[in-house]
Amino acid sequence: MTAIRDSKVFAIFVLVLVLIVVWYVGAVLLNWGVVTDRFSRDGATHSLTDIVLTTLSYTRPVLPAPHQVAVDLWNTTLTLAPSNKRSLLYHAWITLSATLLGFVMGTVLGVVLALFIVLNQAASRSLMPWIIASQTVPILAVAPVIVVLTYNVLTGQNAVAQLLHLDADAAQLISKAVIATYLSFFPVVVGMVKGLRSPETIQLDLMRTYNATTTQTVWLLRWPTAVPFLFASMKVAVAASLVGAIVAELPTGAVSGLGARLLIGSYNGQMVQIWSVLLLSAILAGLLVLAVGIVERLVVARMGARPA
C-alpha cells in the first residue's frame, strides 16, 4: 500500500484529479455571472442546482467544463473522417507536418552546427555567442512575419522561387517549418556541443595514439558519446517545434492548422473550440515527446547500453 502511495504515478494521478475538480469549480464560479444574468432576464426563478448544472453545460461559457471540452474534442476528431475539413485531426495533421519537417531540419542544422563548432575553434568563438543571442530575440513573436516573408520569397518573382517551383501548399508548409526549425535547432546545438565534447581527454588521446583521422574520431568516439545528449535535446526540440508551428499559423491568413483554428475560435468567441484545440495540442506535444523517447530507447538498446 505504501509502495503505491509513494509512487510517482499515483501522485500524478491524484493531482490530475484535483486539477480536474478545481477546473469544475472554476467553471461554476466563472460562468455563474453569465448564467444568472441570463436567468434573471427570463424572469423565472431557478433553483441552485439548476444554475450549477447550467454553468457546466452553457453553450458560450467563460470557462467550459472539462466534459464539454472532452465531448467537443471527441466530436471533432473521432466522429468525422480525418479528411473532413471540420475534423480537428485534419488540422492537427497540417500542423504536425510542419512540426515534423521543422524538427528534422532543426535537428540536422543543429547537429551540423555543433560538429562545426566542436571541430573548429574559430567557429566556436564566432558562432556560440550569436547562437545564444539568437534565442533572446523573441522570434516566436514575429514568427507570422517570417512566415509571410518566406511564403512571398517562395512564391514570388525571384530566382529562388523559379528554381524550386513550389505550389502554394508546399510553400506554406515550408514557411511554417522555418519557424519550427529556428526554435528547435537551438537545444540541439547546445546539447550536441556538450555531447560531442564529453569524451574525456584520455579517450581522445587513445584515438590519437591509434592515429585516427578527425572523421574517425568523430564517428567512432564523439558521436556515440553524444547520442544520449542528442535525444535529451531532441525531446526539448520537438516540443519547441510544435509551439513554433502553431504560432506560425496565427495571423498569417492560414485557414487550416491548429493555430488557425485557435484564431478563428477566438474571433468567433468559441471558447469550447479554443479549449479543445489547446487540449489536442497538449496531447500532440505529449505524444511527440513520447515518440522521441521510444526511439531513444530502441537506439540506445541497439548501441549496446544495458538498462539502468
Binding site: V14, T136, I274
Partner: protein
Amino acid sequence: MSRLERILAIAAALFAVLAIALPLGIRGDAVVMSWTGVLSVAWPVLVLLLLALFTLKLPPLVSGLLAVAGGAVVLFELAQFDSAGWGYWALLATAWLVAWLFAERLSARLASGAERRRWLGMLVPTMFGLAVLVAWEAGTRGGNVPNVLLPAPSVIWARIVANLPILAADFQQTFLKAVLAGYAIGNGVGLLVAIAIDRSPFLKRGLLPIGSFVSALPLVGIAPIMVMWFGFDWPSKAAVVVLMTFFPMLVNAVAGLNVTVAMERDLMRSYASSYWQTLFKLRLPAAAPFIFNALKINSTLALIGAIVAEFFGTPVVGMGFRISTAVGRMDIDLVWAEIAVSALAGSVFYGVVALIERAVTFWHPSIRGGTT
C-alpha cells in the same frame, strides 16, 4: 599556419584577383570596373601584397584591420553602381575570407596560450556580427532585393530613427507594462509555490512531472482566452506572461531547493536553526543558480507571450499590434524596426538578468571559473 588557414588565404587571394579582374557592376549603360575607383582596386591589391609579402605570416590583428577595411570598401562601393556584378561579389567574398582568416588565427593563438590578452576573444564574435551585417547590407542593396522581402540594415535603422515616438509608445505598452508586470508576478508566484510544495514530498512527486509537461506545451495558445477574460489592454497580456513564466520557475525552483546535501542540512540542524533560517541562509542561496536559470529562460518567454497575445486584440498600440498591422499593409521596414527593438529589448533583458546572476551567485563554479 594550419591547413585550413592556408586554404582560406589562397581562396582569399583568388577572390581578390577576381575582384580586380571582373566588372564591379553596371551604372546606367557603363560597366564599372575595379580600377574606376581607387579604393576598389587598392584594397584587393593590398590583400594580395600582404598575403604574398608576409608569406601568410600576418599578425592576427593586422588581418583583422584588413577585414574591417574590406568591409568599409564593400559598403563604400555600393554607391558606385546601380546593380552589382561578379567582381563585387568576389570583393565581398574576399572580405569574408579575410575576416574568417582573422578569426581562425586569433582563436588558434588564444587556444594555444600564445595570446595572453583574453579580451581579444571578444573580437571574434564581434567580427562575425559585423561580417553578417555587411553581407546583409551588400546583398540586399547590391542585389537589388525588394524592400518588401528584406530591407537593408541601413533602411531599417533609418526607419527606427524616423519612428522613434511610435516605437517608444509600443515599447512602453508591451514591455514596461505587460512584460514586466507579468514577469514579476509569474516568477514571484512560481517561487512561492515552489517553496510551499517543497515541504510535501507527495506534491513534489506529482507536480514536478506535470510542471515539466506543462512547460513544454504551446501555452501561448492560451492568449485568446486571456484576452476574452481580461480585456484588450495590457492586463490580459500580463496574464499570458504570468502563465508562461510560472511553470519554468516552479520546476527549476523545486529542483534548486533540493540541491543541498544532507551534511549541509545537518549542520544547520546542529546550529538549531529554524525552517525559515535554513531556507534563507542555506537552501535559497543554494537554489539561486536554478532560480536564475528560470529567470533567464523566462526573460525571453515573457516577451514572446506579450507580443503574441497582442495578435488576439489590443488597443491601437503595442509591438504585437504594430507588427500584425504593418504586415497587413506590407510595411516591412516598420516590422523589421519592431523586430530590432524587440531583439534589443530581449537581449538587454537577458543581459541584465545574467549580470544580476553574476553578482548574486558569485560563489558558483561556473562564474568563478570566468567562463559562461
